[in-house]
Symmetry: C2
Subunit: 177 residues, 2 copies
DNA sequence: GGAATTATGTCAGTACTATTGACGTAATTT
DNA sequence: AAATTACGTCAATAGTACTGACATAATTCC
């Protein structure tokens, strides 16, 4: 149990490098950056007994008030069942309310309450601080270049989800043309 | 059940914006970018019955061959128990081997096998392609600026973990293509 | 040499997020 | 009237994570 079994392959002792032109540096940085990026709100969420799933739901309901359950599922790319418990908890704790759809009464439009809005802001605050600090520390003159890079990392067919957002992404790249 | 309960707060119908100077644009982009970034290897991992945890272990063992279990736990920021099952599976499937530490025989140095090296490369390939494409698409003249930004997003006290990596993260301003 | 500490492995129990599949209900569309 | 859609819910399962406890072997400290 201590050593490798007889049939096992031999250990490779050299570190993986940029062979095949693989960009390990940015792959790793992306991992670490996202890990720490999500750790900020995780602290706050723990106080509520919530997890990341609650955060995501809360975020998008605040960003697109009135979106339906189906739309939310599409943005989050999870299943109805995964959303069910999380959404129910957010409704039960009075962070989100459902309103019957005006045109289609089958639909449930989701809106944040004042409480839900406040929590969404509290969760976003440390993340935004981290981003601002990172932009400054890294001497990024244009934040637009970071924005463009991140957007280009998203699957093209899914970028539509981003563009639907409340805009004001400032100058963005398109300018609505 | 259809509508909101009597005690519930009133729905807020306006979208959350950049109030309080919160950078929702980049917060969202980071979420979408990471979601798609991880979706590439997820496809491949599914064929092996592996998950993201296996990927991370495989990645770091390939990046720092010979690292010990304790070091791996420190990098991944998970507990021993969380690592146990995943590491065992990778060893049983001959992707990783353990070697008794030379100085300290209590330690288990972790090394990839040829099989483990190959899988790590296969998993990194689509991610690297995505990064390269994003750099090109976004017209990022220097990739170093993206690197600096991502590094600045990492908690300062944890940046040591990155700097230990097989170098060429730092001296990377080479433009070997 | 003996005691404390360290590195690792393992067991038991739990939680959260996610999955697929199935079924029911109400509302809309055809 | 029939089919479809939007939503909710139930059951069963999986992957990843957690805490706490305990065992073993090896090293270090006194």
């Amino acid at each position: 149990m201590t050593d490798r079994s007889p049939a096992a392959g031999k250990p490779i002792r050299t570190a993986i490098t940029d062979e095949d032109g693989i960009d390990f540096a940015i792959i790793e940085l992306f991992f670490f950056a996202y890990r720490d990026f999500t750790s900020d709100p995780d602290q706050i969420l723990a106080d509520y007994g919530f997890g990341r799933a609650h955060h995501r739901v809360l975020h998008f309901v605040n960003r697109r008030p009135g979106l339906t359950v189906a739309e939310l599922l599409d943005v989050l790319k999870i299943t109805k069942q995964s959303l069910a418990r999380v959404l129910k908890q957010l409704i039960d704790t009075d962070h989100i309310v459902q309103v019957q759809g005006p045109r289609d009464r089958r639909q449930r439009e989701l809106y944040p309450t004042a409480k839900g809005r406040a929590l969404a802001l509290a969760l976003a605050r440390p993340q935004s601080r981290r981003i601002r600090a990172a932009l400054e520390d890294s001497g990024t003159t244009e934040r637009a270049s970071i924005e463009r890079f991140l957007e280009a990392m998203v699957n093209p067919e899914l970028r539509a989800q981003i563009d639907i957002m409340p805009a004001q992404t400032s100058g963005k790249k398109n300018g609505d043309h």
